[in-house]
Symmetry: C2
Amino acid sequence: MIDRLIAGIRKTQAPIVVGLDPTMKLIPSHIRRKAFAEYGETMKGAAEAVWQYNKAIVDAVCDLVPAVKPQIAMYEQFGVEGLIAFQRTVEYCREKGLVVIGDVKRGDIGSTSEAYAVGHLGQVRVGDTMCRGFDEDFVTVNPYLGSDGVRPFVKVCREERKGIFVLVKTSNPSSGEFQDRLVRDEDGRERPLYEIVGEQVAAWGADCMGASYSNVGAVVGATYPEQGRILRSIMPKAFILVPGYGAQGGRGADLVHFFNEDGLGAIVNSSRGIIAAYQQEQYTEYGEENFADASRAAVLAMKEDIAQALAARG
Amino acid sequence: MIDRLIAGIRKTQAPIVVGLDPTMKLIPSHIRRKAFAEYGETMKGAAEAVWQYNKAIVDAVCDLVPAVKPQIAMYEQFGVEGLIAFQRTVEYCREKGLVVIGDVKRGDIGSTSEAYAVGHLGQVRVGDTMCRGFDEDFVTVNPYLGSDGVRPFVKVCREERKGIFVLVKTSNPSSGEFQDRLVRDEDGRERPLYEIVGEQVAAWGADCMGASYSNVGAVVGATYPEQGRILRSIMPKAFILVPGYGAQGGRGADLVHFFNEDGLGAIVNSSRGIIAAYQQEQYTEYGEENFADASRAAVLAMKEDIAQALAARG
């Protein structure tokens, strides 16, 4: 699956993933009104609004980017109806040829991680029949429980030719509270925990290689460019999924350290910055009705920002 | 909500939570056959089997225990249909007066954790209407992203009088890989990471107190009794949810350190050991058809085992 992602990045020349993180406040009022008129101010109404919003954005940007990343929490908040909208979004994006990264941040003890892995990436046996659940291409995984919480995902990735991105250094302000703690490595040296996790990502990924990169990648926030540089060298074969660009404060110039010399190795996520571009001052000319066109313009601007930053590093 | 849990423990004299973690291999064949006859070997068929299995077990044990803990991964593996069975199980258990601990292990950056918190414990705004999603009483939370990933859950707990259990030291074999790493605390002393997380649990919980314990508890595995003893003293007001009893190897005698002198402070989970008791040698007399009676017998045996261990400590 990492090879398909890389092919998509090469084709579009955009190492960009669009975060499909719909909240009620981001959805244009005409979409909400229509959905509520049909289904009421209910979970079903909310889910319908989410789906119509996503569909319009996906239609507007699917030729520009290789991948989307729906954040499942934004769907799960609307209960079962929200998760139906999540599944519908995953299916639609796959039909459009997009690589779908389910931002689910699951992780548990071994047998339980296995259930998450088959439910999101693989197949579950029902009687003599194999059935597929959410069927994303990649998911994000939380490593706090250690190797036996991550390996079931790696196993399913190998069987299904899919991939994962393991949380290493997240983009949020308090990510350092535990992730930056200095710990002793095997050689007795003190190093931040995220480096140790990064080394494990490289180890887990060695068994799950694509042509040039591993199907086991890492999440490292754009808001921590210096840590990105170090992690880039610790995990040379791991693709880095980089959240935190745009709304969270990360800029194009912060991103260069996340890429390898081959111009690959990272894919940058923007959520609100793209899907709610119409709410930003520089895109108000589009108007709320044309929110999807604003999203398209925001993708093009982000592509240019990253290209310039990569060109500037020479 | 912690006060309701404590009242339930006092009433039943059983600090026990039944883990409702259904997998196809655990569900008796007559239940599977009936569900597949009705809905085929489909996700819907699997979800129906899960629901009928859960319902029979809940009916058989609901007067003996204060709480249940459905592990959402075991439902999520069956996609949307599985999550419908999860929701149905939560609702049914609440109707029966049981406290429901959703073992979801969610955790993300602030705004995203907020979505999980409202979806599982609180209410989400749809237009001018507030709607409830999965509506568990407690959920488990993964702390790897730090305070700003946990605080949105605490906020919703305060508003809704609900609770969380934060992963501190999990029951699985490789939990030490990151959780046991020695890190420097503020005083420059080297201590395992789980102690630092435990201290944060105490801090987060201070703002969210019930009568004698906090609504912010911790998960500490029965398989690590010595760590349980230390964490018990680091977080005196935190209730400890203890997985790993039974199938994972924890025994009654391992549990005493998790309790305070008042006989409270811990609630012990058993999943397979109860819900699939009929598959164990000592309960074969019940037969597969009477699996729920075997579950009831297993609860009574577990209650006795814990009571003896607590009595033996004097």
